[in-house]
Symmetry: C2
Subunit: 201 residues, 2 copies
């Protein structure tokens, strides 16, 4: 990676990154032409090869970028600074929605890269702490006080239900192509309130 890339205006950096996310998320690593990414970013292929030594370099840069973006978003959202599980999930989705506003294809790219098995990049992908796993709603149930919830409620199933619905919602949104972040958040807020009324004592 050429340091010159960082001295580009932020908007242009984002455009190139998004082009990469987009193209690499639609086809496998090998079948994703650098030319297509350049076109999508509105620059020449030569320039892209000036910023990134080769295709692999670009790909791995994007993969690390996902980690960086995700970590930053989760930090800022303060997902884990609340004991309230509903608030936690809400903040988690708000964080993801914000990411998707700037990087619409980050989710799809992340999934695709996580399962990529081209020998040219496979090992390097697995070497980076998987951003994909942090991108998902946390799969494991955090410690909860049963006294807060309706009597006899199976907390594990409750969490599984919420987790699956969240994943399902994000997936549906990311399929449609055009993402309305505000709608996402308000839709999800409604779901959260629904769950609170249903689950809380």
């Amino acid at each position: 990676m050429n340091d010159k890339f960082y001295s580009l205006p932020n908007k242009k950096q984002e455009k190139i990154i998004n082009a990469g996310f987009r193209v690499f998320s639609r086809n496998s690593y090998k079948k994703s032409p650098v030319q297509e990414i350049a076109d999508e970013a509105g620059i020449s292929k030569s320039l892209l090869f000036f910023y990134f030594r080769n295709k692999k370099d670009l790909y791995l840069f994007l993969w690390k970028k996902v980690e960086e973006i995700t970590m930053k978003a989760l930090m800022e959202a303060k997902c884990y600074e609340t004991g309230d599980i509903f608030e936690m999930m809400y903040r988690g989705l708000v964080a993801k929605a914000g990411m998707m506003k700037t990087y619409p294809d980050i989710t799809n790219f992340s999934v695709k890269a996580y399962y990529e098995d081209d020998p040219e990049v496979r090992d390097d992908i697995r070497a980076v702490v998987a951003p994909y796993t942090s991108l998902k709603t946390n799969k494991t149930l955090p410690p909860l006080d049963p006294k807060d919830f309706k009597e006899g409620l199976d907390l594990e199933l409750m969490y599984q239900d919420m987790y699956l619905a969240s994943e399902g919602y994000i997936w549906q949104m990311s399929q449609t192509g055009k993402i309305d972040v505000d709608k996402m958040i308000s839709d999800y807020r409604k779901l959260i309130e629904f769950w609170k009324g249903l689950y809380l004592r």
Copy 2:
């Protein structure tokens, strides 16, 4: 499409179909080489071109096949022959799980094909009644009697919750590569029972 294909042993037909589903679900139409499908199916490219006139022919055959398989599965599952919404959803998932047992990549192929926009196949895809939509859990709320459910329950949100969780679950399963149908069904059964205890009066 050459009729000779149908006189092949069922297992071999399935193997070829699955190879097609698999390869076409991982990359776009244009970026999916026929050679790769042939390899996956364990036959030569020439033979594949003997059964199907060309790549497009094969692709559209697969797309129509999805419709056929889906319709058949939904019929046999008798999803709509019950007034019980929980039973309906359960049967729907059982049907899908059964399909995925024989055709592990049918879901991913279906989604990919639905959003395919290569001019060579785009119009023909849209000409077939979209199998993808029937593949999803039904998005619209069926008519329900509020008296059956807990007082004050928002039926629409309830259904949305179940719908999203179902979609999320199927998506997660289809991502992992190896699909354990029996586990899918028993997991989902638990979820359904959880919902029944939660929602029913």
